[in-house]
Protein backbone atom coordinates (compact mmCIF):
# COMPACT_ATOMS: atom_id res chain seq x y z
CA UNK A 1 0.00 0.00 0.00
CA UNK A 2 0.98 3.63 -0.46
CA UNK A 3 0.28 6.88 1.32
CA UNK A 4 1.25 10.39 0.27
CA UNK A 5 3.24 12.13 3.03
CA UNK A 6 3.77 15.86 2.57
CA UNK A 7 3.43 15.42 -1.19
CA UNK A 8 5.76 12.43 -1.55
CA UNK A 9 4.40 8.98 -2.37
CA UNK A 10 5.62 6.48 0.22
CA UNK A 11 5.41 2.70 0.01
CA UNK A 12 4.38 1.22 3.38
CA UNK A 13 5.82 -2.06 4.64
CA UNK A 14 4.20 -2.14 8.09
CA UNK A 15 1.19 -4.37 8.68
CA UNK A 16 -2.23 -2.75 8.03
CA UNK A 17 -3.09 -2.66 11.74
CA UNK A 18 -0.03 -0.54 12.56
CA UNK A 19 -0.92 2.95 13.71
CA UNK A 20 -0.25 5.81 11.32
CA UNK A 21 1.81 7.41 14.09
CA UNK A 22 4.15 4.42 14.27
CA UNK A 23 4.44 4.28 10.47
CA UNK A 24 5.30 7.97 10.25
CA UNK A 25 7.77 8.03 13.14
CA UNK A 26 9.38 4.60 13.06
CA UNK A 27 9.08 3.43 9.44
CA UNK A 28 9.33 6.74 7.59
CA UNK A 29 11.31 8.78 10.13
CA UNK A 30 8.83 11.68 10.11
CA UNK A 31 9.07 12.75 13.74
CA UNK A 32 6.92 15.91 13.82
CA UNK A 33 3.89 14.02 15.17
CA UNK A 34 4.57 13.08 18.81
CA UNK A 35 3.65 10.04 20.89
CA UNK A 36 2.17 11.96 23.81
CA UNK A 37 -0.35 9.44 25.11
CA UNK A 38 -1.08 6.97 22.28
CA UNK A 39 -4.67 6.86 23.53
CA UNK A 40 -6.16 9.68 21.50
CA UNK A 41 -6.24 11.95 24.51
CA UNK A 42 -3.63 14.66 24.04
CA UNK A 43 -3.57 15.68 20.38
CA UNK A 44 0.23 15.72 20.03
CA UNK A 45 0.13 13.14 17.21
CA UNK A 46 -2.42 15.05 15.11
CA UNK A 47 -1.84 15.11 11.34
CA UNK A 48 -4.06 16.08 8.43
CA UNK A 49 -5.57 13.16 6.54
CA UNK A 50 -7.01 14.46 3.26
CA UNK A 51 -7.20 17.87 4.96
CA UNK A 52 -8.92 16.78 8.19
CA UNK A 53 -7.13 16.74 11.55
CA UNK A 54 -6.89 13.16 12.81
CA UNK A 55 -5.20 11.40 15.74
CA UNK A 56 -2.49 9.38 14.00
CA UNK A 57 -2.04 7.17 17.08
CA UNK A 58 -5.58 5.78 16.65
CA UNK A 59 -5.57 5.35 12.87
CA UNK A 60 -4.62 1.92 11.48
CA UNK A 61 -2.58 2.62 8.38
CA UNK A 62 -4.53 -0.07 6.47
CA UNK A 63 -7.47 2.33 6.15
CA UNK A 64 -5.38 4.98 4.50
CA UNK A 65 -4.29 3.53 1.16
CA UNK A 66 -3.79 6.48 -1.17
CA UNK A 67 -4.53 9.11 1.49
CA UNK A 68 -2.79 12.48 1.56
CA UNK A 69 -1.08 13.00 4.91
CA UNK A 70 0.21 16.39 6.02
CA UNK A 71 2.50 16.62 9.05
CA UNK A 72 4.07 19.74 10.53
CA UNK A 73 7.04 19.18 8.24
CA UNK A 74 4.67 19.72 5.31
CA UNK A 75 3.25 23.03 6.50
CA UNK A 76 6.36 25.06 5.76
CA UNK A 77 10.11 25.08 6.22
CA UNK A 78 12.27 27.34 8.38
CA UNK A 79 13.07 29.47 5.32
CA UNK A 80 9.46 29.51 4.16
CA UNK A 81 7.05 29.37 7.09
CA UNK A 82 3.29 29.05 6.59
CA UNK A 83 1.33 32.01 8.05
CA UNK A 84 0.11 29.90 10.98
CA UNK A 85 3.71 28.93 11.79
CA UNK A 86 4.77 32.57 11.64
CA UNK A 87 1.87 33.43 13.94
CA UNK A 88 3.00 30.85 16.51
CA UNK A 89 6.56 32.22 16.48
CA UNK A 90 5.54 35.87 16.67
CA UNK A 91 2.95 35.29 19.40
CA UNK A 92 5.22 33.08 21.50
CA UNK A 93 2.68 30.27 21.20
CA UNK A 94 5.20 27.45 21.65
CA UNK A 95 6.91 26.84 24.97
CA UNK A 96 8.38 23.34 25.22
CA UNK A 97 7.08 22.71 21.70
CA UNK A 98 5.99 19.11 22.19
CA UNK A 99 2.28 19.81 21.62
CA UNK A 100 2.94 22.42 18.95
CA UNK A 101 2.80 20.32 15.79
CA UNK A 102 -0.61 18.97 16.77
CA UNK A 103 -1.94 22.45 17.55
CA UNK A 104 -0.55 23.79 14.26
CA UNK A 105 -2.31 21.15 12.16
CA UNK A 106 -5.61 21.62 13.95
CA UNK A 107 -5.20 25.37 13.45
CA UNK A 108 -4.32 24.95 9.77
CA UNK A 109 -7.45 22.82 9.23
CA UNK A 110 -9.50 25.50 11.02
CA UNK A 111 -8.08 28.22 8.75
CA UNK A 112 -8.56 26.06 5.65
CA UNK A 113 -12.28 25.80 6.36
CA UNK A 114 -12.53 29.57 6.60
CA UNK A 115 -12.24 29.94 10.38
CA UNK A 116 -12.31 33.51 11.72
CA UNK A 117 -10.63 35.17 14.71
CA UNK A 118 -13.68 34.38 16.86
CA UNK A 119 -12.28 33.23 20.17
CA UNK A 120 -15.00 30.68 20.92
CA UNK A 121 -14.70 29.11 17.47
CA UNK A 122 -10.92 28.82 17.86
CA UNK A 123 -11.30 27.20 21.28
CA UNK A 124 -13.78 24.74 19.76
CA UNK A 125 -11.36 23.91 16.94
CA UNK A 126 -8.41 23.39 19.32
CA UNK A 127 -10.42 21.77 22.10
CA UNK A 128 -8.92 18.30 21.65
CA UNK A 129 -5.37 19.43 22.29
CA UNK A 130 -3.51 19.56 25.58
CA UNK A 131 -0.72 22.03 26.34
CA UNK A 132 0.80 21.45 29.79
CA UNK A 133 3.01 24.53 29.70
CA UNK A 134 -0.33 26.40 29.88
CA UNK A 135 0.20 28.35 26.71
CA UNK A 136 -3.44 28.41 25.61
CA UNK A 137 -3.80 32.19 25.73
CA UNK A 138 -0.96 32.76 23.30
CA UNK A 139 -1.95 29.84 21.10
CA UNK A 140 -5.45 31.29 20.73
CA UNK A 141 -4.00 34.75 20.04
CA UNK A 142 -1.73 33.26 17.37
CA UNK A 143 -4.54 31.44 15.57
CA UNK A 144 -6.74 34.56 15.70
CA UNK A 145 -3.91 36.63 14.20
CA UNK A 146 -3.43 34.10 11.41
CA UNK A 147 -7.18 34.08 10.75
CA UNK A 148 -7.17 37.89 10.46
CA UNK A 149 -4.37 37.66 7.90
CA UNK A 150 -1.93 39.65 10.03
CA UNK A 151 1.64 39.97 8.82
CA UNK A 152 4.30 38.90 11.28
CA UNK A 153 7.64 40.45 12.14
CA UNK A 154 9.69 37.44 13.23
CA UNK A 155 12.52 39.55 14.64
CA UNK A 156 10.33 40.39 17.62
CA UNK A 157 7.32 39.04 19.51
CA UNK A 158 3.87 40.44 20.06
CA UNK A 159 3.07 41.99 23.45
CA UNK A 160 0.78 39.66 25.36
CA UNK A 161 -2.47 40.55 27.04
CA UNK A 162 -0.79 40.62 30.45
CA UNK A 163 2.51 42.14 29.36
CA UNK A 164 3.82 44.66 31.86
CA UNK A 165 4.31 48.09 30.36
CA UNK A 166 7.73 49.51 31.15
CA UNK A 167 7.42 51.82 34.14
CA UNK A 168 3.91 50.55 34.87
CA UNK A 169 4.93 48.44 37.82
CA UNK A 170 8.13 48.44 39.76
Amino acid sequence: MKIVVNGAVREIGSSPTTSLLFVLREELGVTGPKAGCQQGGCGACTVLVDGSPRRSCLLPVGYLDGAEITTVEGLGTPMSLAPVQQAFVHHYAAQCGFCTSGFLLAAQAYLDRGGTDDREAIIEALGGHVCRCTGYVKIIEAVAAAARGDTFDLTTTAPGKYTTVAGGAR
Binding site: G29, T31, G32, K34, A35, G36, C37, Q38, Q39, G41, C42, A44, T71, V72, E73, L75, G76, T77, P78, L81, Q85, F88, V89, H90, Y92, A94, C96, G97, F98, C99, T100, S101, L104, V130, C131, R132, C133, L154, T155, T156, T157, A158, P159, A166, A169, R170
Partner: protein, 456 residues
Protein backbone atom coordinates in the same frame (compact mmCIF):
# COMPACT_ATOMS: atom_id res chain seq x y z
CA UNK B 1 21.67 45.59 27.77
CA UNK B 2 19.93 45.25 24.42
CA UNK B 3 17.98 42.23 25.63
CA UNK B 4 16.49 43.55 28.88
CA UNK B 5 12.98 44.80 28.24
CA UNK B 6 13.13 43.89 24.52
CA UNK B 7 10.72 41.44 22.93
CA UNK B 8 13.11 38.84 21.59
CA UNK B 9 11.90 35.88 19.53
CA UNK B 10 12.45 32.45 21.03
CA UNK B 11 15.76 30.97 19.97
CA UNK B 12 13.99 27.65 19.33
CA UNK B 13 10.68 29.03 18.07
CA UNK B 14 11.17 28.32 14.37
CA UNK B 15 12.41 24.79 15.11
CA UNK B 16 9.34 24.15 17.27
CA UNK B 17 6.86 25.23 14.59
CA UNK B 18 8.54 23.29 11.79
CA UNK B 19 8.99 19.97 13.62
CA UNK B 20 12.78 20.38 13.51
CA UNK B 21 13.30 20.31 17.28
CA UNK B 22 14.83 16.93 18.12
CA UNK B 23 13.35 15.57 21.34
CA UNK B 24 14.86 12.42 22.85
CA UNK B 25 12.20 10.25 21.23
CA UNK B 26 13.14 11.73 17.84
CA UNK B 27 16.79 10.64 18.03
CA UNK B 28 17.29 7.86 15.51
CA UNK B 29 19.93 5.22 16.30
CA UNK B 30 20.19 2.10 14.15
CA UNK B 31 19.48 -1.17 15.96
CA UNK B 32 18.02 0.37 19.09
CA UNK B 33 16.39 -2.02 21.55
CA UNK B 34 13.27 -1.13 23.52
CA UNK B 35 13.13 -1.30 27.30
CA UNK B 36 10.20 -2.26 29.51
CA UNK B 37 9.94 -2.52 33.27
CA UNK B 38 8.41 -5.08 35.58
CA UNK B 39 6.72 -2.91 38.18
CA UNK B 40 5.11 -3.59 41.52
CA UNK B 41 1.36 -4.16 41.33
CA UNK B 42 1.15 -3.58 45.09
CA UNK B 43 1.51 -0.53 47.34
CA UNK B 44 3.60 -2.51 49.82
CA UNK B 45 4.79 -6.10 49.64
CA UNK B 46 7.68 -8.44 50.20
CA UNK B 47 9.14 -10.15 47.14
CA UNK B 48 9.21 -13.89 47.85
CA UNK B 49 10.21 -15.12 44.40
CA UNK B 50 11.87 -13.52 41.39
CA UNK B 51 12.95 -15.61 38.39
CA UNK B 52 13.85 -13.72 35.23
CA UNK B 53 15.09 -16.76 33.24
CA UNK B 54 11.81 -17.26 31.33
CA UNK B 55 12.20 -13.71 30.03
CA UNK B 56 15.87 -14.11 29.14
CA UNK B 57 15.10 -17.21 27.10
CA UNK B 58 12.59 -15.49 24.82
CA UNK B 59 13.62 -14.82 21.23
CA UNK B 60 14.43 -11.17 20.67
CA UNK B 61 15.34 -10.46 24.31
CA UNK B 62 18.89 -9.14 24.72
CA UNK B 63 19.15 -8.20 28.38
CA UNK B 64 17.24 -8.56 31.64
CA UNK B 65 18.41 -6.72 34.74
CA UNK B 66 17.52 -6.84 38.42
CA UNK B 67 19.08 -5.23 41.48
CA UNK B 68 21.88 -7.81 41.24
CA UNK B 69 23.11 -6.10 38.08
CA UNK B 70 23.48 -2.67 39.69
CA UNK B 71 26.99 -1.87 40.98
CA UNK B 72 25.58 0.54 43.60
CA UNK B 73 21.86 -0.15 43.94
CA UNK B 74 21.04 2.18 46.82
CA UNK B 75 21.98 5.80 46.16
CA UNK B 76 20.03 8.83 47.28
CA UNK B 77 19.22 11.89 45.23
CA UNK B 78 20.79 13.98 48.02
CA UNK B 79 23.72 11.63 48.64
CA UNK B 80 26.14 14.18 47.20
CA UNK B 81 25.19 16.43 50.15
CA UNK B 82 25.98 13.71 52.65
CA UNK B 83 22.37 12.72 53.27
CA UNK B 84 21.97 8.96 53.77
CA UNK B 85 20.56 6.95 50.89
CA UNK B 86 17.35 4.96 51.16
CA UNK B 87 16.05 4.15 47.67
CA UNK B 88 17.08 1.11 45.64
CA UNK B 89 17.31 1.66 41.89
CA UNK B 90 15.64 -1.73 41.44
CA UNK B 91 13.65 -3.26 44.29
CA UNK B 92 15.47 -5.91 46.32
CA UNK B 93 13.38 -7.86 48.81
CA UNK B 94 10.43 -5.48 49.08
CA UNK B 95 8.38 -2.98 47.12
CA UNK B 96 7.08 0.17 48.76
CA UNK B 97 4.91 1.80 46.10
CA UNK B 98 2.69 0.69 43.25
CA UNK B 99 4.72 0.91 40.06
CA UNK B 100 8.14 0.60 41.70
CA UNK B 101 10.56 -0.96 39.18
CA UNK B 102 11.80 -4.46 40.00
CA UNK B 103 13.37 -5.70 36.75
CA UNK B 104 13.93 -4.38 33.24
CA UNK B 105 14.05 -6.03 29.85
CA UNK B 106 15.62 -4.87 26.58
CA UNK B 107 14.26 -6.50 23.42
CA UNK B 108 14.08 -6.00 19.68
CA UNK B 109 10.81 -4.08 19.88
CA UNK B 110 8.30 -2.78 22.38
CA UNK B 111 5.92 -5.74 22.05
CA UNK B 112 8.64 -8.33 22.62
CA UNK B 113 9.86 -6.40 25.64
CA UNK B 114 6.33 -6.33 27.05
CA UNK B 115 5.94 -10.09 26.52
CA UNK B 116 9.25 -10.69 28.25
CA UNK B 117 8.15 -8.64 31.27
CA UNK B 118 5.02 -10.78 31.46
CA UNK B 119 7.17 -13.93 31.39
CA UNK B 120 9.14 -12.99 34.52
CA UNK B 121 8.05 -15.15 37.44
CA UNK B 122 7.45 -13.16 40.60
CA UNK B 123 5.56 -13.68 43.82
CA UNK B 124 4.69 -11.20 46.52
CA UNK B 125 3.62 -11.24 50.12
CA UNK B 126 1.37 -8.25 50.53
CA UNK B 127 1.89 -6.01 53.52
CA UNK B 128 -0.37 -3.35 55.02
CA UNK B 129 0.06 -0.02 53.26
CA UNK B 130 0.29 3.44 54.76
CA UNK B 131 -1.31 6.00 52.47
CA UNK B 132 -2.29 8.83 54.84
CA UNK B 133 0.41 10.98 56.46
CA UNK B 134 -1.89 11.70 59.40
CA UNK B 135 -1.79 8.01 60.40
CA UNK B 136 2.01 7.64 60.15
CA UNK B 137 2.55 8.56 63.80
CA UNK B 138 -0.09 6.19 65.22
CA UNK B 139 1.38 3.48 67.48
CA UNK B 140 -0.30 0.78 65.39
CA UNK B 141 0.60 2.30 61.99
CA UNK B 142 2.42 -0.12 59.69
CA UNK B 143 6.16 0.57 59.68
CA UNK B 144 6.99 1.06 56.04
CA UNK B 145 10.55 2.39 55.84
CA UNK B 146 13.90 1.37 57.32
CA UNK B 147 14.12 4.72 59.15
CA UNK B 148 10.59 4.45 60.51
CA UNK B 149 7.67 6.37 59.09
CA UNK B 150 9.41 9.71 58.82
CA UNK B 151 12.80 11.10 57.83
CA UNK B 152 15.27 11.33 60.70
CA UNK B 153 18.39 12.92 59.21
CA UNK B 154 18.05 16.67 59.40
CA UNK B 155 20.96 18.55 60.98
CA UNK B 156 22.13 16.98 64.23
CA UNK B 157 20.03 13.94 63.30
CA UNK B 158 16.82 15.76 64.12
CA UNK B 159 13.69 14.02 62.93
CA UNK B 160 12.01 17.24 61.81
CA UNK B 161 12.75 20.62 60.26
CA UNK B 162 12.31 22.98 63.17
CA UNK B 163 12.28 26.78 63.34
CA UNK B 164 12.09 28.75 66.56
CA UNK B 165 12.11 32.54 66.50
CA UNK B 166 11.25 35.05 69.20
CA UNK B 167 9.06 34.06 72.16
CA UNK B 168 6.10 32.06 70.90
CA UNK B 169 4.51 31.54 74.32
CA UNK B 170 4.54 35.27 75.06
CA UNK B 171 2.94 35.98 71.68
CA UNK B 172 0.09 33.57 72.35
CA UNK B 173 -0.33 34.95 75.89
CA UNK B 174 -0.72 38.49 74.52
CA UNK B 175 -3.10 37.60 71.68
CA UNK B 176 -6.65 38.88 71.52
CA UNK B 177 -7.63 35.73 69.69
CA UNK B 178 -6.18 32.63 68.04
CA UNK B 179 -7.03 31.87 64.40
CA UNK B 180 -6.55 28.27 63.31
CA UNK B 181 -6.70 26.53 59.95
CA UNK B 182 -5.81 23.23 58.32
CA UNK B 183 -4.76 23.16 54.67
CA UNK B 184 -4.34 20.04 52.55
CA UNK B 185 -3.42 20.60 48.88
CA UNK B 186 -3.49 17.32 46.95
CA UNK B 187 -0.80 15.56 44.93
CA UNK B 188 -0.50 16.73 41.33
CA UNK B 189 0.94 14.78 38.42
CA UNK B 190 3.11 17.00 36.21
CA UNK B 191 1.80 15.15 33.12
CA UNK B 192 4.24 16.60 30.59
CA UNK B 193 3.23 15.84 27.01
CA UNK B 194 6.58 14.09 26.60
CA UNK B 195 6.65 11.08 28.92
CA UNK B 196 9.87 10.06 30.66
CA UNK B 197 12.27 8.90 27.96
CA UNK B 198 15.93 8.31 27.29
CA UNK B 199 18.12 6.80 24.60
CA UNK B 200 21.50 5.37 25.54
CA UNK B 201 24.19 4.47 23.01
CA UNK B 202 27.39 2.47 23.65
CA UNK B 203 30.27 4.23 21.91
CA UNK B 204 33.38 2.65 20.44
CA UNK B 205 35.56 4.47 22.97
CA UNK B 206 33.79 2.75 25.86
CA UNK B 207 31.68 5.72 26.82
CA UNK B 208 27.90 5.87 26.98
CA UNK B 209 26.07 8.65 25.14
CA UNK B 210 22.87 9.38 27.03
CA UNK B 211 20.14 11.38 25.32
CA UNK B 212 18.11 12.64 28.25
CA UNK B 213 14.96 14.71 28.76
CA UNK B 214 16.20 15.68 32.23
CA UNK B 215 15.72 19.15 33.67
CA UNK B 216 18.94 18.72 35.66
CA UNK B 217 21.60 17.37 33.33
CA UNK B 218 24.71 17.47 35.48
CA UNK B 219 22.78 16.28 38.47
CA UNK B 220 21.51 13.26 36.52
CA UNK B 221 25.03 12.64 35.28
CA UNK B 222 26.25 12.36 38.87
CA UNK B 223 23.42 10.01 39.82
CA UNK B 224 24.05 7.69 36.86
CA UNK B 225 27.82 7.66 37.45
CA UNK B 226 27.32 6.81 41.14
CA UNK B 227 24.98 3.88 40.46
CA UNK B 228 27.22 2.56 37.68
CA UNK B 229 30.43 3.11 39.61
CA UNK B 230 32.09 4.94 36.74
CA UNK B 231 33.80 8.34 36.54
CA UNK B 232 31.86 11.19 34.92
CA UNK B 233 34.09 11.12 31.83
CA UNK B 234 32.59 7.77 30.86
CA UNK B 235 29.23 9.47 30.31
CA UNK B 236 28.28 11.94 27.62
CA UNK B 237 24.92 13.51 28.38
CA UNK B 238 22.96 15.15 25.57
CA UNK B 239 20.12 17.22 26.97
CA UNK B 240 18.57 20.63 26.80
CA UNK B 241 15.40 19.66 24.96
CA UNK B 242 12.59 18.77 27.33
CA UNK B 243 9.01 18.19 26.22
CA UNK B 244 7.61 19.65 29.40
CA UNK B 245 8.96 18.94 32.85
CA UNK B 246 7.58 21.30 35.50
CA UNK B 247 9.84 19.67 38.12
CA UNK B 248 8.90 16.12 37.18
CA UNK B 249 12.12 15.63 35.26
CA UNK B 250 14.46 16.66 38.06
CA UNK B 251 14.56 13.16 39.54
CA UNK B 252 16.64 10.75 37.47
CA UNK B 253 13.95 8.37 36.24
CA UNK B 254 15.23 6.39 33.26
CA UNK B 255 18.89 7.07 32.49
CA UNK B 256 20.53 4.71 34.98
CA UNK B 257 18.42 1.64 34.26
CA UNK B 258 18.67 2.13 30.50
CA UNK B 259 22.45 2.47 30.78
CA UNK B 260 22.59 -0.84 32.65
CA UNK B 261 20.62 -2.51 29.85
CA UNK B 262 23.11 -1.09 27.36
CA UNK B 263 26.08 -2.37 29.37
CA UNK B 264 24.52 -5.83 29.58
CA UNK B 265 23.34 -6.11 25.96
CA UNK B 266 26.09 -4.12 24.26
CA UNK B 267 23.43 -2.46 22.12
CA UNK B 268 21.73 0.93 22.10
CA UNK B 269 18.50 1.00 24.14
CA UNK B 270 15.55 3.38 24.35
CA UNK B 271 13.14 3.53 27.26
CA UNK B 272 9.99 5.56 26.73
CA UNK B 273 7.32 5.41 29.39
CA UNK B 274 3.71 5.00 28.42
CA UNK B 275 1.18 7.59 29.49
CA UNK B 276 -0.14 5.03 31.97
CA UNK B 277 3.32 4.66 33.53
CA UNK B 278 3.65 8.43 33.67
CA UNK B 279 0.47 8.65 35.74
CA UNK B 280 1.07 5.50 37.76
CA UNK B 281 4.64 5.89 38.90
CA UNK B 282 6.37 9.06 37.78
CA UNK B 283 6.96 11.37 40.71
CA UNK B 284 4.26 13.89 41.61
CA UNK B 285 4.00 17.12 43.52
CA UNK B 286 3.56 16.10 47.15
CA UNK B 287 0.30 16.24 49.00
CA UNK B 288 0.84 18.41 52.07
CA UNK B 289 -0.88 18.58 55.43
CA UNK B 290 -0.45 21.98 57.10
CA UNK B 291 -1.88 23.20 60.40
CA UNK B 292 -1.56 26.85 61.31
CA UNK B 293 -2.46 28.67 64.54
CA UNK B 294 -1.90 32.42 64.62
CA UNK B 295 -1.84 34.64 67.69
CA UNK B 296 -3.47 37.87 66.48
CA UNK B 297 -4.54 41.23 67.83
CA UNK B 298 -8.02 42.54 67.17
CA UNK B 299 -6.66 45.23 64.83
CA UNK B 300 -4.92 42.65 62.59
CA UNK B 301 -1.33 42.24 63.76
CA UNK B 302 -0.01 38.69 63.72
CA UNK B 303 2.09 38.34 66.87
CA UNK B 304 3.06 34.71 66.48
CA UNK B 305 2.52 31.56 64.43
CA UNK B 306 2.64 27.91 65.35
CA UNK B 307 2.74 25.59 62.36
CA UNK B 308 2.87 21.85 61.82
CA UNK B 309 3.61 20.48 58.35
CA UNK B 310 3.45 16.86 57.25
CA UNK B 311 5.11 16.57 53.85
CA UNK B 312 4.11 13.36 52.06
CA UNK B 313 7.41 12.14 50.66
CA UNK B 314 6.01 8.93 49.22
CA UNK B 315 8.02 5.78 49.68
CA UNK B 316 11.52 7.31 49.65
CA UNK B 317 13.21 10.56 50.62
CA UNK B 318 14.61 11.76 47.26
CA UNK B 319 14.53 15.61 47.42
CA UNK B 320 11.81 15.91 50.04
CA UNK B 321 14.06 17.08 52.92
CA UNK B 322 15.21 19.91 50.68
CA UNK B 323 11.62 20.74 49.65
CA UNK B 324 10.48 20.84 53.27
CA UNK B 325 13.39 23.09 54.18
CA UNK B 326 12.37 25.62 51.51
CA UNK B 327 8.81 25.28 52.76
CA UNK B 328 9.87 26.09 56.31
CA UNK B 329 11.79 29.21 55.24
CA UNK B 330 8.64 30.51 53.54
CA UNK B 331 6.10 29.61 56.19
CA UNK B 332 5.26 33.23 56.94
CA UNK B 333 4.79 33.95 53.23
CA UNK B 334 5.27 37.56 52.22
CA UNK B 335 4.63 38.71 55.77
CA UNK B 336 6.65 39.34 58.89
CA UNK B 337 5.77 37.44 62.04
CA UNK B 338 8.30 37.84 64.83
CA UNK B 339 7.48 34.83 67.00
CA UNK B 340 7.50 31.41 65.37
CA UNK B 341 7.36 27.73 66.22
CA UNK B 342 7.47 25.60 63.10
CA UNK B 343 7.79 21.82 63.00
CA UNK B 344 7.81 19.99 59.69
CA UNK B 345 8.12 16.28 59.05
CA UNK B 346 9.04 14.44 55.87
CA UNK B 347 6.62 11.54 56.21
CA UNK B 348 6.95 8.27 54.32
CA UNK B 349 3.89 6.63 52.79
CA UNK B 350 3.34 3.87 50.23
CA UNK B 351 2.74 6.40 47.50
CA UNK B 352 4.99 7.18 44.56
CA UNK B 353 7.94 9.32 45.73
CA UNK B 354 7.10 13.00 45.43
CA UNK B 355 9.27 15.76 44.06
CA UNK B 356 9.62 19.30 42.82
CA UNK B 357 6.87 21.08 40.93
CA UNK B 358 6.94 24.77 40.12
CA UNK B 359 8.12 26.24 43.42
CA UNK B 360 9.18 23.11 45.30
CA UNK B 361 7.68 23.22 48.78
CA UNK B 362 6.74 26.88 48.48
CA UNK B 363 3.54 26.74 46.44
CA UNK B 364 1.93 24.59 49.13
CA UNK B 365 2.85 26.94 51.95
CA UNK B 366 1.89 30.01 49.89
CA UNK B 367 -1.55 28.51 49.38
CA UNK B 368 -1.89 27.88 53.10
CA UNK B 369 -0.53 31.29 54.15
CA UNK B 370 -2.70 33.30 51.76
CA UNK B 371 -5.83 31.32 52.57
CA UNK B 372 -5.07 31.74 56.25
CA UNK B 373 -4.57 35.49 55.78
CA UNK B 374 -8.12 35.71 54.46
CA UNK B 375 -9.33 33.66 57.40
CA UNK B 376 -7.59 35.97 59.89
CA UNK B 377 -9.20 38.99 58.23
CA UNK B 378 -12.59 37.31 58.20
CA UNK B 379 -12.41 36.30 61.88
CA UNK B 380 -11.36 39.84 62.87
CA UNK B 381 -13.79 41.52 60.49
CA UNK B 382 -11.10 43.60 58.81
CA UNK B 383 -10.14 44.24 55.18
CA UNK B 384 -7.92 41.34 53.97
CA UNK B 385 -5.82 43.81 51.95
CA UNK B 386 -5.16 45.86 55.05
CA UNK B 387 -4.30 42.75 57.06
CA UNK B 388 -1.73 41.87 54.39
CA UNK B 389 -0.26 45.35 54.08
CA UNK B 390 -0.01 45.78 57.82
CA UNK B 391 2.04 42.59 58.22
CA UNK B 392 3.83 42.94 54.87
CA UNK B 393 7.59 42.45 54.69
CA UNK B 394 9.46 45.78 54.91
CA UNK B 395 13.11 46.68 54.49
CA UNK B 396 14.95 45.52 57.59
CA UNK B 397 12.40 42.84 58.55
CA UNK B 398 13.72 39.33 59.02
CA UNK B 399 12.48 36.07 57.53
CA UNK B 400 11.79 32.91 59.59
CA UNK B 401 15.37 31.76 58.97
CA UNK B 402 16.93 35.14 59.72
CA UNK B 403 17.41 36.55 56.22
CA UNK B 404 17.18 40.35 56.29
CA UNK B 405 14.92 41.76 53.58
CA UNK B 406 16.65 44.47 51.57
CA UNK B 407 13.98 45.14 48.93
CA UNK B 408 10.81 43.15 49.62
CA UNK B 409 7.99 43.56 47.10
CA UNK B 410 4.94 42.68 49.19
CA UNK B 411 3.65 46.24 49.60
CA UNK B 412 3.69 47.32 45.92
CA UNK B 413 2.35 43.90 44.87
CA UNK B 414 -0.66 44.05 47.21
CA UNK B 415 -1.31 47.67 46.19
CA UNK B 416 -1.13 46.73 42.49
CA UNK B 417 -3.61 43.89 43.03
CA UNK B 418 -5.99 46.25 44.82
CA UNK B 419 -5.74 48.71 41.93
CA UNK B 420 -6.20 45.97 39.32
CA UNK B 421 -9.44 44.73 40.85
CA UNK B 422 -10.74 48.17 41.82
CA UNK B 423 -10.44 47.63 45.57
CA UNK B 424 -10.37 50.97 47.40
CA UNK B 425 -7.56 51.21 49.96
CA UNK B 426 -7.57 53.73 52.79
CA UNK B 427 -5.14 56.59 52.21
CA UNK B 428 -2.54 55.45 54.76
CA UNK B 429 -2.42 52.00 53.08
CA UNK B 430 -2.25 53.59 49.63
CA UNK B 431 0.73 55.67 50.76
CA UNK B 432 2.58 52.72 52.31
CA UNK B 433 5.98 51.78 50.85
CA UNK B 434 8.47 49.03 51.60
CA UNK B 435 10.72 51.51 53.43
CA UNK B 436 11.82 50.51 56.98
CA UNK B 437 9.03 50.40 59.53
CA UNK B 438 8.21 53.52 61.51
CA UNK B 439 5.32 55.22 63.25
CA UNK B 440 2.10 53.21 63.35
CA UNK B 441 3.70 50.46 61.20
CA UNK B 442 6.26 49.72 63.89
CA UNK B 443 4.34 48.33 66.84
CA UNK B 444 6.27 47.17 69.84
CA UNK B 445 6.15 43.47 68.97
CA UNK B 446 8.09 44.03 65.71
CA UNK B 447 10.92 46.15 67.09
CA UNK B 448 13.20 43.36 68.25
CA UNK B 449 13.23 41.48 64.95
CA UNK B 450 14.41 44.43 62.89
CA UNK B 451 17.97 44.32 61.51
CA UNK B 452 20.02 46.81 59.57
CA UNK B 453 20.03 45.79 55.91
CA UNK B 454 23.22 47.79 55.38
CA UNK B 455 25.02 45.23 57.48
CA UNK B 456 23.83 42.28 55.38
Amino acid sequence: MKAVGARIPRYDGVAHVTGRTVYVDDVRIQGTLWAKALRSPHHHAGITKLDTRPASELKGVHAVITHEDVPLNVYGHLSALGIPADEPLLAEDAVRYKGQPIALVAADDEETAARAVDAIEIEFEERPALLDVRKAFDPDAPRIHQWGNWYTHFEDEMDRRQIRKGDIDAAFAQADTIVQGVYRPAAIEHAPLETQVCQVVPEANGRLTIYSCTQALYFSMGVVAAHLGVPLNKLKFVGGTTGGGFGGKVDTATETMTSLLVLKSGKPVKWRWTREEEFLCSSTRAPWHMEIADAVTKDGWILGRRMLTLHDSGAYARFSPYGLTKHSFHHTGAYTIPNLAFDGYVVFTNRVPTTAMRGFGVTSVSFAVETHMNRVAEVLGIDPFEARLKNANRIGDTSPNGVVYTDPSTVPTIQAIATAIGHELKSDYRAMTNEPRNGEWLPEHLVAQIANPEEH
